[in-house]
Symmetry: C2
Subunit: 223 residues, 2 copies
C-alpha cells in the first residue's frame, strides 16, 4: 500500500502532533533552562491542539485507513513520552524516581492499546485519555513542586488504565474556551507576564475534567 | 476492560521493550558522554532482543488482545524516537538538521500504522521493519561520521515507507547468531575492547538484511 496515497487531511495534523512532541523532547534535552522547559510545555499543549483539530477534521471529512493507528502512535509520543521526559529533566529527578516516569509511559501505552481494540461509546472514554494526562502532567511542572508532580504522575497513570468513565468533549463552545486559554498561556509565556494566573486557569480546567467522572457516575446511578 | 487481566506473557516483553527504549532516552539526555552514547546503543539493541523474544513467545503461547497494538507503540518509541534522538544528541546536530530526525520518526510511525491495517504475508514484510531501521541507525553512530549517519537516517526512513519486500527472519539459527553477536557487542563495550570489530560484524549483518530485497525480487522474477 502506498502510504502517501493513504494519507488524508486529518493525518497531516497527526503528523504535526508527533513532530511537535518530538521537537519538545529535542529542545528540552538541548537546553535544560527554565525558559526552554516553559517553551516545551507550550509545544506539548500545541500538540494537543493539533490532536483536537485532527479529531474535528476527521469527523468532518472522514478518516483514512491509517487514521486511528497513526493517532495512537502520535499520542504516545506527545502525551506519554514527552511529558514524562520533561518531568525528569525539569526537576533533575534522581535515578530511583525514573521508574515513576516509565510507569506513566507504560500505562499510557496500555491505555492506547486498549482503546484501539475496545468497543467505542459515543459519549464516554474508558479511563483518562492520554492527551488530558499529558497536559495535566506538563502544566503541573509550572508549580515548581517535584513531589507534587511525581505523585500526580502516578495518579494520572493509574487513572489512564482504570475503567473510570471520562466524558468526550466535542462541544465547540468548550473547545473554544480551551483554545482561548491555550492562546493566553502562549502569549503570557512569550511576554513573561501573568503566566502563573494563566497556568492556574488552565490547571483548574484540567482538574475539573479529572474530577468529571464523579458527576457522570452520580448521573448514571440516578438513572 | 481490565488491562491487567488482558495482559499475556508476550505483552510483558513488550513492556520491557518500551521501558528500555525510554530508559535509553533518559540516559542519553542525562550524560551526553561517549560512554553513555555506547550504553544507549546497547540498550536499544537489548530492546530489539526483547521485541524478538516477544514475537517468539507470542507464536508459542498466542498473543492477547492488546498484543499487536502495544507492540507498535513500543516499537515507535524504542526504534523510532530513541535512535533518532540518539543521533541528534551524539553528533550535537544543529537545528536545521533536526527535520531529518523528525522525518525518520514520522516515516517509522507511517510504517507501523500501515502494518497494523494491511493484510499480512507469512514470509515478507512491506517496507523495512522499524526495529531493523532503528538498530542500523543506532549502530552507525559507532562509526563517528555524522554526515554518513544523517544520510543513512533519510535512506532508512524512505525504505520504511517503501513497498520493498523484506524477509521475516524467524529461523532459530539466524536468530541465535544475532543473539550471540549482541552478547559479544555487549561484552566488548562493557570491557572497552574490540568494539570496532563487533560493530563491523553487527553492521555487516544489518547491511545484508538491508540489501536482502535484491535477492527476493530476483527470485520472484525467476518464478
Amino acid at each position: 500500500m502506498n502510504v502517501l496515497h493513504a494519507l488524508r487531511p486529518p493525518d497531516l495534523l497527526t503528523i504535526l502532533n508527533i513532530s511537535l512532541g518530538f521537537a519538545a523532547i529535542l529542545l528540552i534535552c538541548e537546553s535544560q533552562s527554565a525558559d526552554m522547559i516553559k517553551a516545551a510545555i507550550i509545544i506539548i499543549i500545541l500538540a494537543a491542539v493539533a490532536d483536537g483539530l485532527d479529531g474535528f477534521v476527521a469527523r468532518k471529512t472522514g478518516s483514512g485507513p491509517l487514521g486511528a493507528n497513526l493517532d495512537s502512535l502520535a499520542d504516545l509520543l506527545s502525551f506519554g513520552a514527552a511529558p514524562a521526559f520533561l518531568v525528569v529533566v525539569a526537576f533533575r529527578l534522581p535515578h530511583h524516581i525514573w521508574p515513576a516516569a516509565i510507569f506513566f509511559l507504560v500505562c499510557g501505552a496500555l491505555r492506547l492499546a486498549r482503546f484501539n481494540i475496545s468497543s467505542k461509546s459515543d459519549q464516554l472514554f474508558e479511563g483518562l485519555p492520554i492527551p488530558a494526562a499529558g497536559m495535566a502532567l506538563s502544566s503541573s511542572i509550572l508549580l515548581g513542586r517535584p513531589d507534587l508532580t511525581v505523585s500526580l504522575m502516578i495518579v494520572l497513570a493509574l487513572l489512564m488504565v482504570s475503567s473510570i468513565p471520562y466524558p468526550k468533549i466535542r462541544d465547540i463552545r468548550v473547545l473554544s474556551i480551551f483554545g482561548l486559554l491555550v492562546a493566553a498561556t502562549f502569549l503570557a509565556v512569550f511576554f513573561q507576564s501573568n503566566q502563573l494566573y494563566t497556568a492556574i486557569l488552565l490547571g483548574a480546567l484540567i482538574i475539573m475534567y479529572l474530577l468529571s467522572p464523579v458527576v457522570i457516575l452520580r448521573l448514571q446511578k440516578g438513572k
